[in-house]
């Protein structure tokens, strides 16, 4: 299917010009030169084309042939995706390692889904049945927790002519033949889909179910729904990757697609080491059994980095279409934007802000709009949630990528340099972050967490705001001059920051907090404030409150009380109320 369509006329790093081209299509997949480096057509003009090449172009000379494929850059979708690690254009890195060892040379090719593995397939349609796009024709148990549903590809509908019996089949064997008006369509376990086009859905839905991440600052203060979009901006060293890792590990998504886009090689190695060992608290299965990794590290070709985001989101949409809740971690979208800038510069396009192309905002919008809770073509419910890291230069949020991203996301977890410097992790700032989804989700939290959730949350957020203002006063005159009622606010906020907002990613007990643990901890701290304020108004002093016997237990509850002994938190709550009551009685007697 690959015929010569033209000759290279100019080589400028990853951007290659070719001339004498006939029959080329925009965004068509091509191969360049004798190494058959893969690339994509980015511009057509007369018989000249511009190609972005996904590999190092060293040695490519003018006159080299360009081969056309007649199809756009696509990914292979089918069983075997889960647990795999791919580069930005879906080449399987494990397989490549078997072929070429430690390094990735140019022009190496391997099938994205292994051809020689046979999968147990059970059909669920019969001959003569009418099928339409998105309908399930059979299932494959891909991992112990993911039942892979084989779907009729978009655009195919008709009557089942034949279907294979239950048994094991390699991915390329035909399992079902559908008679369509355009002729017979042979369906295998694999389908292909162009990465730059969103997969079709029946309709979008309003999401009111939170994506529970087990991270207290996220779930309680800045929650996101299944199908939501959130950006995580932060300068270097503020812990973006740690936040992404924590969400990838502990969120209650069915499938996680982790895109390491232009980041460190060792971070991907960390994921590869960690995920098979870590066990999901909900299913007791290794996390790797729900994870797909896309690794296009910073030293891998820049054009493939640009494609990696699309490869990842397309795989996510495919699992969504099977009725799963999928979370996409994109680390980092800034590196993707920079790849866009680099390619745009080499194509000599007119730059907009800071050298980024004018279409940066459009591309970001297209990407984030592929998230959402949807009704799939077959009537199931599935979702794609996007958690996109942003790496603003110099930690300055006014730069174009952060600013444009903010227009297309609805939750913002801003990472703060000062918090990170004090090793307060996750360094999510409670003053700069927001979530527009809180209203939508409070119903769920009231029902499944605490009926008073909204009030508790608002109360603590307001205290944090007041504390920030008080701190300005403290910076000028010291804390001593404040009345006890205001110092109580400082005290409560310090307690809240140390025991609730800070969460260790390495402590066995603290790394993941269930909904129940979160709401109970929140209630304890708010109760401390409410009753403490009452006691102070009745004449108690802050010193007395600090010396309550229950305080050290509150301070250490996150490390001491594991998720399956929640009743101990109730005991702390009762003790707090009791000790406060006793304190009140002492002062009432005056």
């Amino acid at each position: 299917m690959y015929g010569v369509i033209g000759q290279v006329s100019r080589v400028l790093g990853p951007v290659v010009h070719a001339r004498g081209v006939k029959n080329a299509r925009m965004l068509e997949l091509v191969e360049v030169g004798e190494h058959r480096l893969i690339g994509e057509i980015m511009r057509l003009s007369g018989d000249n084309i511009i190609i972005q090449v996904y590999e190092d172009t060293t040695g490519v000379a003018p006159g080299a042939p360009v081969y056309g494929s007649g199809m756009p850059l696509s990914v292979e979708l089918g069983p075997g995706l889960i647990g795999s690690i791919y580069d930005g254009v879906q080449r399987p890195l494990e397989e490549i390692r078997k072929l070429t060892g430690q390094f990735i040379p140019r022009g190496v090719q391997a099938a994205s889904l292994q051809r020689d593995v046979a999968w147990p397939f059970s059909p669920c349609v019969e001959a003569g049945e009418r099928v339409s796009p998105g309908q399930v024709i059979g299932t494959v148990p891909e991992t112990a927790r993911i039942l892979h549903r084989i779907l009729v590809p978009p655009g195919v509908s008709g009557t089942v002519r034949s279907v294979v019996k239950e048994g094991t089949y390699p991915v390329e064997s035909v399992v079902c033949v559908v008679r369509t008006p355009a002729g017979d369509e042979k369906l295998t376990l694999i389908q292909r889909w162009p990465v730059r086009r969103a997969r079709p859905i029946a309709s979008r839905m309003h999401s009111t179910i939170p994506l529970i991440t087990g991270q207290r600052v996220i779930d309680t203060l800045f929650p996101i729904p299944k199908g939501g979009t959130v950006a995580v901006p932060g300068g270097f060293g503020t812990g973006k990757t740690m936040v992404e890792h924590q969400v990838a590990k502990w969120s209650d998504a069915d499938v996680v697609v982790y895109i390491g886009c232009g980041e460190r090689g060792n971070e991907m190695t960390d994921v590869l080491n960690d995920f098979p060992k870590l066990v999901d608290p909900r299913t007791n299965r290794p996390l790797m059994e729900r994870t797909v990794l896309i690794a296009n590290t910073s030293n891998m070709p820049v054009a493939a980095r640009e494609a990696s985001i699309y490869t990842g989101i397309t795989i996510a949409e495919y699992y969504r279409d099977q009725g799963y809740h999928v979370a996409v971690m994109a680390d980092s979208t800034s590196r993707w934007a920079e790849a866009l800038r680099e390619l745009s510069g080499r194509m000599e396009e007119m730059p907009a802000e800071e050298g980024f192309p004018a279409y940066l905002a459009t591309r970001l919008a297209e990407f984030y709009e592929r998230a959402g809770l949807v009704e799939t073509l077959s009537g199931e419910t599935g979702s794609v949630t996007i958690v996109g890291a942003v790496s603003p230069p110099g930690g300055d949020f006014s730069e174009p990528v952060t600013q444009h991203t903010k227009r297309f996301i609805r939750a913002f977890w801003a990472l703060d340099r000062d918090l990170a410097n004090a090793r307060h992790y996750p360094a999510i700032s409670w003053l700069d972050s927001y979530s527009e989804y809180t209203e939508d989700l409070s119903g769920w939290w009231k029902q499944n967490g605490d009926p008073e959730w909204g009030d508790l949350r608002n109360e603590i957020l307001e205290l944090l705001q007041r504390e920030a203002r008080l701190q300005q006063v403290v910076k000028l005159v010291g804390a001593d001059v404040l009345p006890d009622s205001q110092r109580l606010i400082l005290e409560v906020c310090t307690l809240f920051k140390n025991t609730f907002l800070q969460q260790s990613a390495f402590d066995r007990i603290d790394m993941y907090a269930t909904v129940q643990k979160q709401v109970k901890m929140l209630r304890i701290i708010v109760t401390f404030y409410r009753l403490g304020m009452k006691a102070i108004q009745e004449g108690a002093t802050l010193i007395k409150l600090r010396r309550l016997k229950v305080i050290p237990d509150i301070a250490r509850m996150k490390f001491r009380i594991s998720n399956d002994e929640i009743e101990k938190l109730d005991a702390i709550q009762e003790r707090l109320e009791r000790e406060m009551r006793r304190l009140g009685e002492i002062y009432a007697s005056f």
Partner: protein, 465 residues
């Protein structure tokens, strides 16, 4: 690494060039010239220079000349395209020798016999073939070992400013670095880009004095060398390092100094080519370009060697948000930041407490590696020192007398932390136990209740001891 299957065309030679533009030359009427190809340029005076194709067009090419273009004339210059990218001859014999940025000996000795020839641009390591670095390197410097632990295979840059003792700190790291309980010494690959002769001499003398010179390979392109050669120097050095680490299975420590000069050379070439500038006129691909250097570190499966990188860069105007330190920090696994204020107060090493960071620390410390309390005491030191900064700011407004007794404790702690924990002599090699004990000693100035980040057991074991 397999020898690149680069087609080996016969060299093609052309007389005359069409244009000279700063460090670039344009050659026309040529055929079949590939991107990134090595070019030999014969000058009118008979001397030879090397260059690289940075843009290949039909019948024309743009060549970047490493040794500069002074003295070239249009009709009398000959160019010869070599049909392959620049390759470095590598062998174990190169240890103990001094080379220029392109890998040619400049110590008067013979050209070493090559075991192999490796493409200086390297190839990306397959992420699945990487091994996660976890072996603690003891540098004997408390600020690093205790709070910003270096591990084998890490890339940990030193962010400095002009006039700060980054060379002294780096030399101390080189002298003292060892793996506790292992009798393996590091081979050192040292690349100098645009630094002064004094700096190179300082390092060479240091290597001599410690008797490691026969384990060092030096690649020097100093301040008086043409700027473009700085672009290739780190690549030849890292190719050497990869050979020693992944072929000869040695543990290699790579020192790259000064990365700011490298980036400036990159900007120079980019500007001459008329590329669209990004921040501070650095090219938009600065991040990718730096990554292609810094990512050439680490451990890979199937070889027992490793590459640990310590790049040095000076932050223009001490500004950590300048593109060079900023993008570096986004790629490397942490940073050691030197602080002018500490330096002015006579504290050596002036390693800034808060902005310094080692990302790989968590996996290199703790039970079985350093000591069980390491992570907690380090975190406690960071938290307490952050508070010290707040208290000092407050004290400068309201005066020290007005501070609460607790704040006074913090001031005392801050003073002790800087004088006793951070400070040490440049020949003082502290063991990790000494460092951690010192940490506990200074933390014990604070009241017990203030220590939130350490466990009660640790407090009873170490507090005030």
């Amino acid at each position: 690494m397999p020898v690149s299957e680069q087609r080996l065309l016969d060299s093609r030679e052309y007389q005359g060039i069409q244009q000279v533009l700063g460090p670039l030359i344009m050659v026309e009427n040529i055929h079949n010239v590939g991107y990134n190809e090595l070019v030999e340029i014969r000058c009118p005076d008979g001397s030879e220079r090397l260059g690289m194709v940075i843009e290949a067009n039909e019948g024309a090419a743009v060549v970047q000349v490493f040794e500069g273009t002074s003295g070239l004339s249009l009709p009398d210059t000959a160019v010869c395209f070599r049909g392959a990218p620049l390759r470095l001859s590598v062998s174990r014999e190169m240890l103990g020798r001094v080379f220029d940025g392109l890998g040619r000996p400049i110590d008067g000795g013979p050209v070493p016999i090559a075991e192999d020839r490796w493409d200086v641009n390297g190839q990306p390591v397959n992420p699945t073939a990487r091994q996660y670095p976890t072996r603690f390197i003891q540098t004997g410097i408390s600020a690093i070992d205790g709070m910003n632990t270096l591990v084998r295979g890490q890339k940990l840059p030193v962010f400095s400013g002009s006039g700060l003792p980054h060379n002294k700190v780096t030399a101390q790291i080189v002298r003292q670095a060892k793996i506790v309980g292992e009798d393996v010494s590091f081979a050192i690959v040292f690349a100098a880009m645009g630094v002064k002769h004094d700096v190179a001499r300082y390092f060479i003398r240091n290597f001599e004095e410690t008797g490691v010179l026969e384990n060092v390979v030096l690649f020097l392109s100093l301040a008086d060398a043409p700027s473009v050669v700085r672009l290739i120097t780190p690549r030849t050095a890292l190719t050497m390092a990869e050979y020693l680490a992944f072929r000869e299975n040695m543990h290699v420590l790579v020192i790259l100094t000064d990365m700011t000069n490298y980036c400036e050379a990159l900007r120079e070439v980019s500007t001459v080519r008329g590329e669209i500038p990004s921040r501070k006129s650095y090219p938009g691909y600065l991040y990718s370009d730096l990554a292609s250097l810094y990512e050439r570190a680490g451990l890979v499966a199937d070889s027992t060697g490793s590459i640990t990188q310590v790049p040095i860069l000076t932050m223009p105007n001490d500004d950590i948000s300048h593109p060079v330190p900023d993008l570096t920090g986004y790629i490397t696994e942490g940073q050691i930041v030197l602080e002018r204020e500490l330096f002015q107060r006579g504290i050596y090493p002036p390693i800034a407490g808060l902005p310094s960071l080692s990302r790989l620390m968590k996996d290199g410390i703790g039970p079985g590696m350093t000591r069980d309390d390491h992570a907690h005491i380090a975190s406690q030191l960071f938290a307490a020192y952050a508070r010290v900064k707040d208290v000092r700011a407050l004290a400068s407004v309201i005066g020290e007398e007005e501070l609460t007794p607790l704040d006074h404790h913090y001031l005392k702690f801050g003073e002790a932390f800087e004088r006793d924990f951070l400070s040490q002599r440049d020949d003082e090699d502290r063991s990790i136990e000494q460092t951690l004990d010192l940490g506990w000693k200074v933390v014990s100035i604070l009241p017990r209740e203030e220590l939130h980040r350490v466990s009660e057991e640790e407090i009873s074991k170490f507090y005030g001891k």
